[in-house]
Amino acid sequence: MAAFIALVRKDLQLFFGDRRAVILSFAIPIAIASFFGSIFRGQSNDSEPAKISVAVIDEDSSAISKDIVAGLQRDKALAVTTASIEDARQSVRAGKTAVAVVIPTGFGDAAGRAFFQRVAKPNVDVLFDPSRGAEMSMVRGMLTGHVMEAVGKEMFGGTQGRSLVDETLSELDSSGMPQAQRELLRNLLHSVQALNKETGGVPADQAVMTVPYTVKESAVTARENVAYNGYAHSFAGMGVQFLLFTAIELGMGILFERERGLWKRFRSAPLSRLTLLGARTASGTILTLLMLVVSFAFAMVVFRVRIDGSLPGFALVAVSCSIMAATFGLLVAALGKTTAATRRVATFAVLIMVMLGGAWVPSFIFPAWLQTITLVIPARWAVDGLDAMTWRGLPFQSAVMPTIVMLGFALLFGALTLSRFRWEES
């Protein structure tokens, strides 16, 4: 046991004696997690959501197109500007505007006709920044709502709408529509005319045809009135990433000891292989756990991250994650030959692992197939486990599966290490 403790103490002495390693392991993850957290911090109750920049070019200037522009301008999710088509195109190309919506000449009339008849539908031209596809999709959905609202309102009372109803009635017999349907539509249009005559048209501020629901948004977090804290996720993600980087350094330490002949001293002493690898696992676990604890302590003090789930569950996930990382470090040492080449390969492996594990961005934004595949990546379980115990506020039971999986990975890494470790020194 004395040898075991001495080996662990040596690793800790070496780690804390290396200022660069300490900075890399503590300060940098905190700095990067803070940066990511500030980007993905989510929408709090009192904060204004980020708006999508949209340029609108109204070439039609009809009642319908003006109403569409007004609707877009009222939308809280959009920052709408009007521009010429060339200016809008330039702005999208420069990345200043996400989407430009062009309402072409004649759009209002064509849309009104297409409202009741099977005639060619007019186009709305949309120019968008290809790097902002998600915003494009959102704008398309919002635009649909505003167009439906504007056309519906105009058709049930607007001047442009009345003339279009009259025009539709006069052209109905030549429309090619089956007789029965034609009569039904004729009755409907007569009813619309009667309604317009009766009411004198719908007031400008009152829509007739609107999206038939409103959305009440409630972020489901740990408790009611507890806002999502994006720092919780970013500190989990970056914590796991740098935990694995530190594990690489632990593996590098073994390779370094081998290169320097230090491993010969260890192997010539009456020590079991279990003692040698176990001590390294223990020191690796202590160091990585310490990193995780320090990093979350910082997040709790500075960014008000809270363990809204189970504290023992958080501890369990953190410890199993640290054990997994330590055994990953051993595996790096077992598979590596030279320090320089091994560091490059291992760093690449960690970056892939944390990227797919949801350490950079939450895994729920991945496609479904990728979410399934990434279940075989230990970083995914580590991040999900920490998320569950922090901002999701889930109970202890939710820590059990990530813990079992991560300990399973630790066993796998340990077994691979034992089978591949180069014990002979010559």
Binding site: A2, A6, G261, K264, R265, S268, L271, E425
Partner: protein
């Protein structure tokens, strides 16, 4: 004390050690000589437990050495060719770590550290980090690290590589002192003058085999006989080249 019997070791298709046998007695320094690739380091590695022999056995006072945790390994001290030290730690911390591997009690470890540092003349630098040491000081500390648990047998793998004459001389004095204390020393080197000065017996190896095992005087007599008794006192280097040839070894 240390008996090596018919050791064999191959790495893939390469035979590194092929039936090596020799003994090292208490109070004796055996010089193990050979060109690069002769099998010296592999032989030392097998004795120190770093490499498992394919065949043959190693015994210490008749007790066979086997396994990682064999307590007999406590009777062996290794001074590797590399400077196997942590530069970032002090000499004291290095020795405390290496002594702990042999389960020395705290008090015994303190005494062993003081004793070994005194022997190599580094006691006053015990609290300094190794990275502040000169090459010669590191070599001496490397030797001290192998002595902490007071082994009966010391394996020294080219322990004077790259050191200045003063440090080399100090190391020689240390080895003479250890020999006088009854330690059995196995010393590999490329420096013939070191073997001439220190070795009680010399084993010359090449291609994994023992080519000669004799005292320096015995080897010289053999060399003299081979040259028809006209060559006077043949140098060890000449004898070595006669045995191993003049082909370059890389």
């Amino acid at each position: 004390m240390l008996t090596i019997s018919s050791l064999h070791k191959s790495f893939g298709s390469t035979t590194a050690v092929d039936g090596v046998s020799f003994t090292v007695e208490r109070g004796q320094l055996l010089g193990l000589l050979g060109p690069n690739g002769a099998g010296k380091t592999t032989t030392v590695s097998m004795i120190s437990g770093l490499v498992a022999p394919d065949r043959g056995e190693i015994t210490i006072d008749g007790v066979r050495l086997s396994g990682d945790i064999d307590p007999v390994k406590r009777r062996i001290g290794l001074v590797p060719q590399d400077l196997a030290l942590y530069d970032e730690l002090t000499a004291n911390a290095n020795l405390r770590l290496f002594g702990s591997l042999y389960r020395l009690s705290s008090r015994a470890l303190d005494a062993a550290i003081t004793s070994s540092l005194t022997l190599v003349g580094l006691l006053d630098r015990a609290s300094d980090k190794v990275k502040t040491y000169s090459g010669g000081m590191k070599r001496r500390l490397n030797l001290a690290a192998g002595l902490l648990h007071d082994p009966d047998i010391l394996l020294l793998d080219e322990p004077t590589v790259g050191v200045d004459p003063q440090s080399r001389n100090a190391i020689f004095d240390n080895l003479e002192h250890l020999k006088s204390r009854g330690k059995a020393l196995l010393y590999t080197t490329h420096y013939m003058e070191e073997a001439e000065r220190l070795a009680d017996r010399i084993v010359v190896m090449d291609h994994g085999r023992v080519l000669a095992d004799d005292t320096l005087a015995g080897l010289r007599a053999r060399g003299s006989a081979n040259s028809g008794g006209n060559g006077g006192a043949t140098s060890l280097e000449t004898l070595f080249l006669e045995l191993t040839g003049r082909t370059l070894r890389d």
